[in-house]
């Protein structure tokens, strides 16, 4: 299946969880926040949240700004 990850298409295994995606990206343990289809998915739910074809996933972090 294909998702949109930070605006770019990405192939994922069917039924992949958000935790598995985060791990595949090498972001486990990093301070990030995730929204799927414009809804926040709390960190505590990443392991049980299964992605679906066409999901729009945003992964953000803190950067310098004023």
């Amino acid at each position: 299946m294909q998702i949109q990850l930070n605006g770019e298409p990405r192939q994922c295994d069917d039924g992949q969880t958000l935790s598995q995606l985060v791990e595949a990206l090498g972001l486990t343990g990093r301070r990030i926040a995730i929204e799927v289809n414009e809804e926040i998915v709390p960190r505590s739910l990443h392991a049980q949240m299964r992605l679906a074809d066409g999901d729009r996933v945003e992964i953000v972090h803190a950067i310098g700004g004023g």
């Binding site: 972001l27 301070r31 926040a33 995730i34 992964i59 953000v60 803190a62 700004g65 004023g66």
Partner: protein
């Protein structure tokens, strides 16, 4: 006997801060310089932006939040770069998740790329949504007194008019309207944007502002850490001058030395 007036701490949404200088984290050369400048500024509140994570990055890459640890500073996520209320609200919700429920945010909704002037229509809409969603909203706005009051009515915990355009360093271009905002306000008023050098910050505080938020004035000085130190002193000096209540202005001179006893009398 001490003639010093005891100041009260800056209090925003029930949070008390010793420093009235709030700083940003953009435009520094690296995180070491960011950390050193912020330390020199004495700021308690530090703002940052929320952006898409670069995928495929080095997993050991330094993180801004290591340079400004949430255990030491009150972090103030901002919505810089948002041009609609919807995007600003999404960004605040992401920031709240990022910071484990921390709900103090700096709302800014911009109008265009050239001026980065606030779009007050979108800002008002976003403020209302965010306050209803439990956020404590410090809001960047124009120096329009009516808009400032409307934002306050919508429950914003601090109103932050621009001194001049973001990143311009043009100082306080409209002290007259800022004065009206200060007279009307029942929440803290902080100048956010436009500060160029220490005297700009001191002037804002002398006028009675509750604080000043700045980024470029420090980060784009040739020597940011030294400028951060200067800004800390300017904020303190301006605040003390405000509390001390300046002398009246006069049209004519008034000698400081007595006339009596002059040798040519």
């Amino acid at each position: 006997m001490s003639q010093l007036i005891q100041d009260t701490p800056l209090t925003v949404a029930g949070r008390r801060f010793a420093s009235r200088l709030l700083v940003g984290t953009g435009k520094y050369r690296d995180f070491d310089e960011t950390a050193a400048a912020i330390e020199a500024s004495g700021a308690d509140v530090v703002t940052f932006a929320v952006r898409r994570t670069n995928l495929g990055q080095n997993p050991d890459e330094a993180n801004l939040l290591d340079a400004i640890p949430p255990s030491r500073y009150t972090l103030l996520p901002n919505t810089a770069g948002c041009y609609t209320a919807k995007d600003a609200v999404r960004t605040c919700r992401l920031a709240r998740e990022l910071l484990d429920g921390h709900n103090l945010v700096k709302l800014e909704v911009l109008g265009d790329d050239k001026t980065l002037y606030p779009n007050v229509v979108e800002t008002l809409a976003a403020a209302e949504t965010l306050v209803n969603d439990g956020f404590d909203v410090m809001v960047y706005t124009s120096d329009d007194p009516i808009v400032a009051k409307e934002l306050e009515k919508r429950g914003c915990c601090a109103v932050m008019p621009l001194g001049s355009l973001i990143g311009s360093g043009n100082g306080l271009l409209n002290p007259a309207t800022l004065t009206i905002i200060l007279e009307n306000a029942e929440v803290p008023v902080l100048v956010d944007a436009g500060i160029g050098t220490a005297s700009d910050a001191a002037l804002a505080m002398e006028m009675g502002c509750d604080g000043v938020l700045m980024n470029s004035a420090i980060a784009h000085a040739r020597h940011p850490v030294m400028m951060a130190n200067a800004m800390r002193k300017a904020i303190e000096a301006g605040r003390e001058a405000f509390l001390a209540e300046r002398m009246p202005r006069r049209q004519s001179a008034s000698p400081s030395s007595p006339f009596a006893g002059r040798i040519n009398a």
